[in-house]
């Protein structure tokens, strides 16, 4: 791990909404190829963190560097173009378009030819297991499938880093397992992954390292073992008894 | 010209295009104008038509300039009319006359006043009624000949403001008033234009209250005319005279809306009810006939506005078309150029003669324009002397 180069560096990051700090003084470093889990109670600032890294929110203070370049002031589309993709916790499909078209739009970023782009998109749709729904309009997909669509679309932009915000929420254990496999595969291919998940079982078994946010502050940062035995984390987030595994 | 001659296609019918804004914001006078032509056509038809042929009006709606062109096109190429009469509004007329001129169809403007219509030197475009500059001329001449002496001052000691709605009608009249007033040395304190659809003129009135002009020259449509007088009264703005030109001030709706507050306002307009001494016997008969018939059919008095149209229709239906050698453009054009009706022969006291004004061959130089005044909620002719039925009275304005 030490040998890997720093890819994403977050320093003293803070965001306030009308005086309330949703995040403050957070430092996180992500190395190339790493799979970093991010957990924390509801409202801890996880999504806000993603929003800042991906340009949807401007940090109130602090620095975000990607490959040693300051990216805090870039627009979301610039962020995508330098290789950082994301999914939305509250899914945002293009409702009137088919699944395939949804994904094609991601591919068009680097493949101008619409027909070729569609071919590539088809692969991505298969990858997330939505091939049966290729031509279904996105608005009639049930929630679980929409989450996969989010994922397929993000993957379609051919990113170096992918930030997944609760992609397993609303999936049953079986489906979660499929999704975990997918994440693992991506990781093995060398993709750097940031994963927000309340499903501890999934998160803990996937992550190499976990960052815990709590009320906007970084509470802990360490290996899965360190985190699951960290008393503060247990109190603030996991809860004490065995139920935590779910 | 093959198309024009096709106007006779039914043998016993002469088709004439009547192009007016029947819908949209100009619809009121557009419809009234159409009714004016219709009235003359009915009367002429009842008396045997034109050389035995009945007049058949082809109605066309021109709510905007694009429609005016498109409808002119239809009248010419589809309905094959040899003659179009219209359109009441200057902008619409300018647009429609382009089409007529290009297609070699005679177009007789009955009531739009913008000078541009006849200034372009088109050979197929004629106007029986007066132009804006003639209207402006009348307003200023009246000021010079009557108001100034009546106020006991020299005309170049007078101050005035010009307020006009901003479409081509108001602008054209205002331009002419401005020019003529300056020639006489009347001091113009302010010239203001506004949108006729406005719902407030109080600011302009406040401004005038500060400027204290002797005379307000105003050119408006109806809604704004009502508003202006109403608010002037309310805000206690009382110049020595309000001299308006045609448009809304001459309409019965204006009088009805304002009641006695309309009294005292001067309106320069085509005459609607001139002193009968200025008319020939024939004209008096016509005048009575139309006034009565209009009242019967519409329940209102004929205004100068409608008289314009009636005049034009009378000239066309009783003088020009019966005498035209052929009912095509050349025939009608020739007949038009030969018309020579002296003043007083038309029921409103006008006469007709074209080709007398430099650069405006299609303009009738004998279109009469007079000054009227609202008195006792009626519009009476007060100037010039030979036409007048009543005396002008400056004390009437906002007297209650």
């Amino acid at each position: 791990m030490v040998s890997k180069s720093k890819l994403l560096e977050i320093n003293n990051l803070g965001k306030s909404f009308g005086g309330n700090w949703a995040i403050k003084g957070v430092d996180i470093t992500v190395r190339k190829g790493e799979l970093l889990g991010i957990i924390g109670p509801n409202g801890a600032g996880k999504t806000t963190l993603f929003n800042m890294v991906t340009g949807f929110l401007k940090p109130t203070e602090g620095i975000i560097r990607f490959k040693d370049k300051d990216i805090a002031n870039l627009k979301p589309h610039n962020i995508c173009n330098i290789g950082i993709a994301r999914t939305f916790q509250i899914v945002k499909p293009f409702g009137n378009l088919s699944v395939l078209e949804n994904v094609t739009i991601g591919v068009l970023r680097y493949e101008r030819d619409v027909n070729k782009a569609k071919e590539i998109a088809r692969e991505k749709v298969k990858l997330v297991g939505l091939e049966k729904y290729m031509d279904t309009t996105a608005s009639s997909l049930p929630l679980g499938h929409r989450k996969r669509l989010e994922m397929a679309r993000a993957l379609a932009t051919d990113p170096e880093v992918i930030m997944l915000d609760e992609v397993m929420g609303g999936l049953n254990d079986d489906e979660t397992a499929e999704m975990m496999n997918l994440v693992k595969t991506l990781h093995n291919k060398g993709l750097t992954i940031l994963l927000i998940e309340h499903n501890m079982h999934a998160l803990m078994s996937l992550s190499e390292r976990v960052v815990v946010l709590c009320y906007g502050k970084k509470l802990a940062d360490g290996t899965t073992d360190e985190i699951s035995s960290n008393q503060e984390v247990i109190e603030a987030y996991l809860g004490s008894d065995d139920d935590a595994e779910n | 010209d093959e198309e024009a001659s096709a106007g006779e296609k039914d043998g016993d019918e002469i088709r004439i295009g009547a192009l007016f804004p029947l819908t949209g914001s100009l619809a009121l006078l557009g419809n009234e104008s159409y009714d004016g032509i219709k009235l003359v056509a009915d009367v002429v038809n009842e008396n045997g038509g034109i050389n035995g042929k009945q007049i058949s009006l082809v109605k066309a709606d021109a709510p905007d300039a694009t429609a005016a062109q498109s409808e002119a096109n239809r009248l010419i190429s589809q309905e094959k009319v040899p003659l179009i009469m219209g359109t009441y509004s200057s902008g619409l007329s300018i647009a429609a006359t382009q089409v007529a001129e290009r297609n070699g169809t005679i177009y007789v403007e009955s009531n739009a006043v913008s000078d541009e219509i006849t200034e372009r030197g088109f050979e197929n475009i004629f106007r029986v009624t007066e132009s804006a500059s003639m209207q402006g001329d009348a307003a200023v001449s009246f000021t010079n000949e009557y108001l100034a002496p009546d106020f006991g001052v020299k005309v170049d000691e007078l101050t005035a403001v010009i307020m006009h709605e901003e479409s081509s009608f108001g602008t054209a009249v205002a331009t002419s008033i401005e020019e003529k007033a300056e020639n006489l040395g009347i001091e113009l304190l302010s010239i203001d234009s506004y949108n006729s659809e406005t719902n407030d003129l109080s600011s302009t009135i406040h401004k005038y209250k500060e400027l204290k002009p002797d005379i307000v020259f105003a050119t408006s449509y109806i809604n704004d005319a009502i508003l202006f007088i109403q608010q002037s009264k309310q805000l206690n703005f009382k110049p020595k005279a309000i001299v308006t030109t045609s448009g809304g001030y001459a309409l019965s709706d204006f009088g009805e809306a304002l009641g006695e507050d309309s009294n005292g306002i001067y309106v320069a307009d085509a005459p609607s009810n001139p002193n009968e001494e200025a008319l020939t016997e024939e004209a008096i008969k016509l005048k009575e006939q139309f006034t009565e018939r209009w009242k019967e059919e519409h329940g209102t008095e004929l205004t100068g506005q409608t008289w314009r149209v009636i005049n034009a229709a009378l000239v066309m239906f009783t003088e020009v078309l019966p005498n035209a050698e052929s009912l095509d453009a050349d025939g009608i054009r020739n007949a038009l150029s030969q018309v020579d009706i002296p003043l007083g022969e038309l029921p409103n006291g006008s006469g007709v003669k074209f080709n007398e004004i430099d650069g405006q061959p299609g303009q009738n130089s004998r279109a009469e324009i007079v000054m009227m005044q609202w008195q006792n909620e009626d519009l009476n002719l007060v100037w010039p002397g030979d036409f007048a039925t009543e005396k002008a009275d400056n004390s009437l304005l906002f007297s209650k």
Binding site: F17, I39, G40, P41, N42, G43, A44, K46, T47, T48, Q89, I90, S140, L141, P142, L143, G144, H145, E166, G169, G170, L171, N172, D173, D174, E175, T176, A177, H198, M200, H201, A236, Y237, L238, G239, D243, A244, N246 | -
Partner: protein, 235 residues
């Protein structure tokens, strides 16, 4: 029986989402409705609330056939749904959202009492009282949605994936609350992905697959059934 459904079919346009579903929920019971994505769980619940245009079958609530009763009146009868995906009023504040929960006459009379109860269950909401609901984090919105459901003074509450996006601690709290419902004699129809935990607190459960009920029985029966073990708990 508090709720009884007979041979329910529901459609979205031409697409049939559930087929011949029959189920029952007794007074004071906690019944779980399980099934993979797209199996028709939410559709069933929506049909019970009257939000589906095209449906066939019979729905009885307290022995009364309610097929023709409009959705808002079903709410007045104490038949409450906490919908999937929060469905808050994004531009009302948290407090206003909760107050909207108490729209019906009966609930309105107990507004303050219920409000205190909700704030006691979710102290987070008390702090965010004046925040616009749409600006809250996903989990916070979920709490608000459950709170809003409680404000309606439910007699039968249908919870559609109430723990979606909630932190483990809160999930535990939610299950605690559901257990409390039993004590309060509030009947519960629960849709959950969290099968193990749901079966732990539920009396009985139904399992949907492809719009059909493929299994029903007491929680312990289902817990040990092969289908469930393979489909859900096999990880």
């Amino acid at each position: 029986m508090m709720l009884k459904i007979k041979s329910l079919n529901a459609y979205y346009g031409d697409l049939q989402a559930i087929r011949d579903v029959s189920l029952e929920v007794g007074h004071g019971e906690i019944v779980a409705l399980l099934g993979v994505n797209a199996s028709g769980k939410s559709t069933t619940v929506r049909a019970i609330s009257g939000l589906i245009d095209r449906m066939e079958g019979e729905i009885y609530y307290n022995k009364e056939l309610i097929n023709d009763i409009p959705p808002n009146q079903r709410t007045e009868m104490g038949l409450i749904q906490v919908p999937e995906g929060r469905q808050l009023f994004p531009f009302l504040t948290v407090r206003e959202n909760l107050e909207m929960g108490a729209f019906t006459k009966e609930a309105r009379s107990k507004l303050n009492e219920n409000l205190e109860r909700v704030f006691a269950l979710f102290p987070e909401m008390k702090n965010k009282e004046k925040q616009l609901a749409g600006t809250m984090s996903g989990g916070e919105q979920q709490m608000c949605a459950i709170g809003r459901g409680l404000m309606s003074n439910p007699r039968l509450i249908m919870l559609d994936e109430p723990t979606l996006g909630l932190a483990p601690l809160i999930v535990k709290r939610i299950f605690g609350i559901i257990e409390e419902f039993r004590a309060m004699r509030i009947t519960v129809l629960l849709i959950e992905q969290n099968v193990k935990q749901s079966l732990k607190i539920a009396d009985r459960a139904y399992m949907l697959s492809n719009g059909k009920i493929i299994k029903e029985g007491s929680s312990s029966e289902l817990m040990n059934s092969d289908d469930v073990v393979q489909g859900y708990l096999g990880v």
